[in-house]
Subunit: 361 residues, 2 copies
């Protein structure tokens, strides 16, 4: 029996930006390939022939090198990590409800997903070429070029993170070859950090003594004060993700039978933190009940949670929030964190449920 | 000229729990010794003769060892770190305003301070005795014993943190011998974590395969849901500190001249995060101005900030909040995070200022 492709909400066709319905993510440690969000900057997806592709490793290294896909796979051990990726723009729609964000993709809850990634450790590649002790950052450049600005997609991560064992140059996703639309033949996976650092269609790794000066590091993907306009170097670059959570099932606006309703969702601590508790409220946060946490598939993956709520007939807003291992908790209101590019909405999650009383008799 | 000792608010004499006024902390990278907060559990401070003191290192190690103070100082290199310590109960008074916390010390803003600590790296000591690969935690036991429970003060940190280069067994504080009241001859300093992990009057380091089962790890210093009672293993142990900030000057309730008022404070990101921005508001968070950040004395220290506000005559509530390097921001309201032991109040900081118009003519 053929699997029915997951229905995606397509925000734009070119570049292709699409996300699954929240319910598709519910309860699954791994997100199916056809339900994994797509976030692109280039109008056309790069078309790369793996047979001729190569990875250039250069910059502040002792032995600059170029690896074919075969050489990369042969020279470096394959490591596997289950990792949740999350777009910095995930849940932007909640910020747009506070104040419009013209030109920004109105992502809902689905610009996140979890996969089992396999590939070489970036650390192994860097050690192989020998890193200059004065280096501080690693610039990652993909083959994708947007119309504006007309430059390859390039960002950087601090060397300390690049050398962490969890950062992969992945050629496999959920035990299949990495799909073209997710960055084949090789993409970066930077666990715990905004998805924008997990460069697809990787072509070049450049060790440097400063962060990337490219648009996607120096202008975009930065946290700005509410009254600022994006400008080169303004604000601070986003990196690790703040603690976040969402309700995944039932769907927002769903009709459910009144009485006991099973509510599920995910939470993600970001950085190297873990989720230690999730709370659920049906009175807008006046009181909270503790949700049950499912086992975490890996240190770098989301953590699913569930709670049984007793809903009276009528409309109830279900609120959820997570705590991380530093006793950090999500802020209540998206207005508190509204920012001009609409990044990292980690306000309490809210869905509205309509509970229908059982028919008489 | 003799230095005037800082005036401390003494919450209890036995055990001695005291904190400085917020203004004493303002603008100083290092907190003077006589203004550093005291948080004790034992009625009587341990009286230790450094000449006969020794440190026992045991548990899951290859070569259990006992070090005299001289041996410790001779065998291991001295390292220095500027580190901010912060009591998990700091700012508890803000939680008590939400709902009473009987029996808990009503700490204000001053249960935090920064010092230059020098001593051996705990990692060097652990490597010297050889850690069993199956170990996961390191239990730290002090000489202080409370009346209730009648057991030595003992907590643990995960082995991964214990092996981090910033964790010290400190014998020096602000370039002086560690004072008796701050844990002489040797105390632990665990940067980025709640003060309760920085064990004073250290006597024993025990490598283990589980966290400490002692009261201060298994019952106290845990984050509890609002409706829970403390019980063994209930809730989750506190560890790294969530992002926090406070106004340090002017004092809360101060009279100031109307017009331009210079407001200063600190922010602390906790864990291994950094403070990336501090916002100040005079309209309860409806709008914010970005504060200026002072250079950070070290990766593990607080970051001072300042802002010039234009205050009209009358009463203004000044609000401040910090963002960490994961785009995490403080929650707005202490009611959101009220918990039955009153820990980690990192709600927005608030002080009330009374601006006095200049006298006519």
């Amino acid at each position: 029996m053929a699997t029915q492709p997951a229905e995606m909400t397509v925000h734009s066709a070119q570049p292709y930006n699409a996300e699954p319905a929240r319910t598709v993510l519910a309860g699954r440690d791994l997100t199916p390939l056809d339900a994994f969000y797509h976030r692109n900057h280039a109008t056309e997806q790069p078309r790369i022939d793996p047979a001729t592709w190569s990875l250039r490793v250069d910059g502040m290294v002792e032995r600059p090198a170029t690896f074919s896909l075969g050489a990369l796979r042969e020279r470096f051990a394959e490591h596997t990590e289950v990792v949740t990726l999350q777009c910095a723009g995930n849940r932007r729609s909640g910020l747009i409800e506070v104040a419009d964000l013209p030109g920004e993709t109105p992502w809902g809850p689905g610009a996140t997903g979890t996969a089992r990634w396999a590939g070489a450790r970036l650390a192994d590649v860097l050690r192989d070429v020998g890193v200059d002790p004065a280096a501080t950052d690693v610039v990652l450049t993909g083959a994708d070029v947007a119309d504006e600005p007309d430059e390859p997609y390039a960002v950087s991560v601090p060397l300390e993170k690049a050398l962490a064992s969890e950062v992969l140059l992945a050629w496999s996703m959920n035990d299949a070859a990495l799909p073209a639309e997710h960055g084949a033949p090789v993409r970066v996976v930077v666990p715990g950090w905004i998805g924008a650092r997990s460069v697809k269609w990787l072509e070049r790794v450049t060790v440097a003594d400063a962060p990337s000066s490219g648009f996607y590091q120096a202008v975009a993907y930065r946290l700005l004060p509410a009254d600022a306009s994006p400008a080169r170097g303004r604000g601070v670059p986003l990196g690790p993700i703040a603690v976040n959570a969402d309700v995944l099932s039932p769907a927002d606006g769903a009709e459910v039978p009144a009485g006991r309703v099973h509510v599920t969702g995910y939470a993600l601590a970001g950085g190297d933190r873990t989720v230690v508790r999730v709370d659920v409220s049906t009175d807008d946060g006046a009181t909270w009940a503790e949700a049950d946490l499912a086992p975490q598939a890996s240190r770098w993956s989301w953590r699913h949670w569930h709670a049984d709520l007793d809903l009276p007939p009528g409309t109830t807003r279900v609120v959820a929030r997570a705590w991380d291992s530093a006793a950090g908790v999500q802020p209540a209101d998206p207005a508190e964190l509204w920012n001009p590019k609409g990044y990292v909405n980690n306000a309490w999650a809210r869905v509205t449920l309509h509970a229908i009383a059982a028919a008489d008799g």
